[in-house]
């Protein structure tokens, strides 16, 4: 949650949030169309540079955040490596059948997962939700009733986490302890979720009423406290991508890491 930590503002923060989101979506779709691991690795390195040097967050935090990346890599790759289709067998134990094709396909999925993770985390670390929703209203004509509901609800999350701590203490005092078994697990989830949900629903409801009491309507025009428009930083970002992406294709052709250029089966 970028909103809870202090950080240095960098050019990535100053990109128009809607544009940033839109580019992220395009990059996502584009990434899905890359089936050559060599390109993907270069691409990933290009994104990694943004993550490591331009988010404005301290090293230690970046390091902690990146621990799950490894997990993502494993999650995304293992079942494909072990059980994917392929013809050049490397190893076989019972159902496990590792082939050259499945191995590289798994690897590819792992890198793809990490690339998505990096893109997502770069966005999360460099975008204040309030700016994002102001921008979505101004650039994408998102209806104010959705935008402000989001902003109000995001404000409530830290409150809810605080309440969860209190609830944790209270349940401990009452002797609601973790016993094993599905039924106990269900009971425990219920013990946490019912108070938190009902409290949050009531609070959200009251906030909505309070907002209308402050003459919030979905009709008519409104002025904006924050004006989000486009700037040179958007151009810088676009230029960065326009250099990195072709570059990853070119280097992949001339200096490939692996000989496989399409990881899909039968290609």
């Amino acid at each position: 949650m970028a909103m809870d930590f202090s950080y240095k503002e960098t050019w990535l923060h100053k990109i128009n949030p809607s544009l940033k989101l839109l580019i992220m979506v395009f990059l996502f779709i584009h990434l899905l169309m890359i089936h050559n691991t060599n390109i993907l690795i270069n691409y990933m390195v290009g994104m990694l540079v943004l993550y490591l040097f331009f988010t404005g967050h301290p090293w230690k935090r970046l390091l902690v955040i990146s621990i799950p990346f490894l997990l993502i890599f494993l999650t995304s790759s293992t079942s494909m490596i072990f059980f994917g289709k392929g013809e050049i067998t490397w190893a076989k134990w019972g159902l496990v059948h590792i082939t050259e094709e499945s191995f590289f396909r798994g690897l590819h999925l792992g890198f793809r997962g990490i690339s998505f993770a990096i893109l997502g985390i770069v966005f999360a670390l460099t975008t204040r939700p309030v700016y994002l929703f102001y921008s979505l209203m101004q650039q994408f004509k998102l209806k104010p009733k959705y935008a402000y509901s989001f902003m109000a609800a995001i404000r409530l999350i830290p409150l809810m986490i605080e309440e969860m701590q209190t609830l944790h203490y209270a349940l401990q005092v009452r002797g609601v302890q973790g016993e094993r078994g599905i039924k106990e697990f269900y009971k425990k989830i219920k013990a946490y979720s019912i108070p938190l949900l009902s409290q949050s629903i009531r609070r959200a409801y009251r906030i909505a009423v309070a907002m209308e009491a402050k003459r919030f309507t979905n009709h008519g025009n409104r002025t904006y406290f924050y004006r989000l428009s486009f700037s040179k930083f958007d151009v810088i970002f676009l230029c960065y991508l326009l250099v990195i992406i072709p570059l990853s294709y070119v280097t992949a052709t001339h200096f490939p890491y692996f000989s496989i250029t399409d990881v899909r089966f039968g290609s």
């Binding site: 979506v25 997990l71 999650t75 009733k145 959200a204 909505a208």
Partner: protein, 192 residues
């Protein structure tokens, strides 16, 4: 009266969604740990990612809520730095739409466990569809792919069908759901 969802409906939907967004975010590492085994046990808990749509709909019972909730939860997971980045948003839209279609098919008149489970299954199908592009799952050995299908659908029924329904039932007992449910004709007639 304003057409569509009222501000109270939207804000309540979004807060429910964001709570699940936080859970989605925490669910990621858990899923990851189970998933490294490779035999799709993790798919049994995949159903958690469909729950926001079902829970929000069962509470508010209005058109549009399921889609909004699932997208908002995905958006939440995304801005809290979820491990799957933008992919979450795409999955969210697909899963939300699928669940919404099921509720619409019943004309937004049924709120029982069966409909909740169907919505979960529909969301599971949507996610599987996206996974063909995202995870090359078509290139898995057939038996493995079938396990993935089976467990993901079973998980969807278990978590976003049965569990979601039980959760909302428990919530109804607290009385808080009355806040957001529309008043009935009978209520207006009682005014005389």
């Amino acid at each position: 009266m304003e057409k569509g969802l009222k501000l109270t409906d939207i804000l309540v939907t979004i807060i429910i969604a964001l709570i699940f967004g936080v859970i989605y975010k925490l669910w990621g590492p858990l899923y990851g740990v189970v998933a490294t085994l490779g035999i799709h046990l993790e798919q049994l808990i995949y159903g958690m990612w469909f729950i926001a749509a079902v829970v929000a709909y069962l509470i508010i019972r209005k058109p549009g809520v399921a889609l909004l909730a699932e997208v908002a939860a995905a958006q939440g997971e995304f801005i809290f730095g979820g491990e799957w980045g933008v992919a979450t948003l795409i999955f969210g839209i697909g899963q939300g739409l699928a669940a919404e279609l099921i509720f619409a098919a019943f004309r937004y008149k049924r709120y029982d466990m069966l409909v909740a489970s169907l919505a979960g299954v529909a969301a599971a199908f949507a996610s599987i569809g996206i996974d063909f592009y995202y995870g090359y799952i078509g290139d898995l050995a057939l038996w493995n792919l079938l396990i993935l299908f089976g467990t993901r659908i079973a998980g969807a029924i278990l978590i976003s069908g049965i569990f979601a329904h039980l959760l909302v039932q428990a919530l109804e007992k607290t009385g808080v759901t009355n806040l957001v449910r529309p008043a009935t004709k009978e209520d207006y007639q009682a005014l005389g």
